[in-house]
Amino acid sequence: MAKSALTSPDQPTNDKPSIGQRVKSFAIDYFRQWQLQTMVIPGILFMIVFCFVPIYGLTIAFKSYTVIDTLDSAPWVGLENFRIILSDRYFWDSVVNTLAISFLKLGIGFILPIVLAIMIYEVRYNRFKKFVQTVSYLPHFLSWIVLGGMMITWFSTTGLFNQLLLDLGLISNAQNILLDANKYWWIATLSDIWKESGWGTILYLAIMAKIDPTYYEAAKIDGAGRLRQIWNITLPNMKMIISLNLILTISGLLGSNLDQTLVLMNSQNREKAEVINSYVYRMGLAQGDFSYATAVGLGVSIVSVILLLTANKVTSKMNDNQSVL
């Protein structure tokens, strides 16, 4: 009954037990722990069914699968699907859009939470600090559907955005920028930043809270101003976490937010809004070309893993050969 009975090895340690003995002792322990095992087994079954079966399902990328087939009856076609991808203009259009939006998000959306976190950290009035945090975390909890609906209101010709620009005299007549394909990349980027940059500060703030305050006092005695302190104390202390976030962001360059795309894409801006994810969705589920869509998805995941490993290597070089991952 007691725990110690379960932990102590049954066999003497000096001579190696045979396979048979080991299987036997495993079985004995296993059945003695039946209560614990009954807790774990449902989880294992879940993982097999909902994670490993779909991973096996990736093989349809190398097959020609149609609705009448089962996974195993579909004929193998080798790399045929991947060959088609290379000459698929719509696929490459979606790659361009994905990369453009990802790089804009990386350029602005990666820096802003860091700056914002430092600004919040520097506020000395706790009430004000709390207020800013409360407000800035809120949009993270809105769904993209809700935000998409709100954006339609803000950007409609009679909405907040046009009103503001008209009042400031920046435009002469109202127009709905959600219908303007050329502005889509910026709309996707900026709306994402509006939603997530406040939330993005949380991790940075948690790290900053751990910086030893005596560093700042010493710097002050040496005559360092606030900006100096930020540059020489706060930022170096955040190097690791910034690198980690950078690696994760880079590995996600080919991914994009499908919720956001689906709610903001319309027939007017589709050419600039279609990203790889939504292309997979459209090819696979709307048009039923399962094998082709899976091949696109698999190809993108492989490239993403390569990006992840490369980014990890590069940043670990920058961090004096300490690997961040």
Partner: protein, 304 residues
């Protein structure tokens, strides 16, 4: 805060630092204030727009207060039986989804948190693999289809039962419970299930609450599951209903630019009221969320 206590006796630095500091603080706080305004004003605008009459919505031109206050949008929304159905689906999938998810993850995490569990290394390896690899959209869709979960309420619950991330968080939490508690319960004759249910569950409420809250927000906001697997409208949650309204109103605003304003504003009003209704539960638990997400971050930050 150490920052507030200034070292005395170094006068020149102090005076210079004082002015610098004040400039810095003013600029800093002004910028942050602008940032909060950029978040609050648009949200406020949506709220007041939802209480605006169709007429004044069509004219626009207000920011903080509608030109004509009205409840007609909400009346229109609540007249539609669809929203009650969608609200019911949203609430039930959140309640059932969260409670089963939390229990399932806690159960697995409890088993895995015992170092002497036979087969543990294999189980953990499998879990880690699921964190990094997945079959992706199409193979998962085919699986869901072959399990007969398309157009079933259970597609909201069963595939969302388990998350290895949450298991890791709970495992770390369970490890920090002193062994003595468990041992004394076992001496009293309790089995592992008993220890888990009557000892660890009550002790782990803060961790369970954190996971429940985040999973709850996820369930409430989730729209992809419906979009991918559900075509039966009676199973649409609020998010999906809102999505349909949005798509519809987008198409309309493209079709009749300058055309029939009446139809457009009605959809717009309905859309706004639905947005507010969909967001309200999130706002209601926001204070709770705020209390837990810092602790949640800390739980997640602990490495295994």
């Amino acid at each position: 805060m150490g920052l507030l206590t200034k070292p005395s006796g170094i006068k020149p630095t102090r005076i210079k630092g004082g002015l610098d500091n004040r400039v810095f603080d003013t600029v800093n706080m002004t910028l942050l204030l602008l940032f909060t305004v950029a978040i609050v004003v648009p949200l406020w605008n949506v709220l007041v727009s939802s209480f605006s009459s169709g007429q004044s919505l069509a004219q626009g031109g207000f920011v903080f207060w509608p030109t004509e206050f009205s409840l007609e949008n909400y009346r229109a929304v609540f007249r539609d039986a669809g929203i009650w159905q969608a609200f019911f689906i949203s609430v039930s999938k959140t309640v059932v989804g969260v409670s089963t998810h939390v229990f399932f993850c806690a159960m697995v995490a409890y088993g895995l948190s015992k170092k002497y569990l036979r087969g543990r290394r294999l189980y953990v390896a499998m879990g880690v693999i699921t964190m990094f690899f997945s079959g992706g959209m199409i193979p998962t869709y085919l699986l869901i289809k072959s399990l007969g979960l398309l157009n079933s309420f259970w597609v909201y619950i069963i595939p969302a039962l388990f998350s290895y991330y949450d298991v890791v968080i709970l495992m770390n939490f369970f490890r920090n419970v002193p062994d003595a508690l468990e041992e004394s319960a076992k001496i009293d004759g309790a089995g592992d299930w008993r220890v888990f249910l009557s000892l660890f569950i009550p002790l782990s409420m803060p961790a369970l609450a954190t996971i429940a809250l985040f999973n709850g927000v996820g369930q409430w906001n989730d729209f992809m599951t419906t979009k991918l697997y559900i075509t039966d409208q009676s199973l649409y949650p609020l998010q999906m209903m809102l999505y349909e309204i949005i798509v519809q109103s987008q198409t309309q605003s493209m079709q009749n630019i300058g055309g029939s304003v009446v139809i457009e504003t009605t959809t717009k009003g309905v859309q706004l009221a639905t947005i507010v209704i969909t967001t309200l539960p999130i706002l209601a638990i926001y204070p709770l969320l705020q209390r837990y997400f810092i602790s949640g971050m800390m739980l997640g930050a602990v490495k295994e």
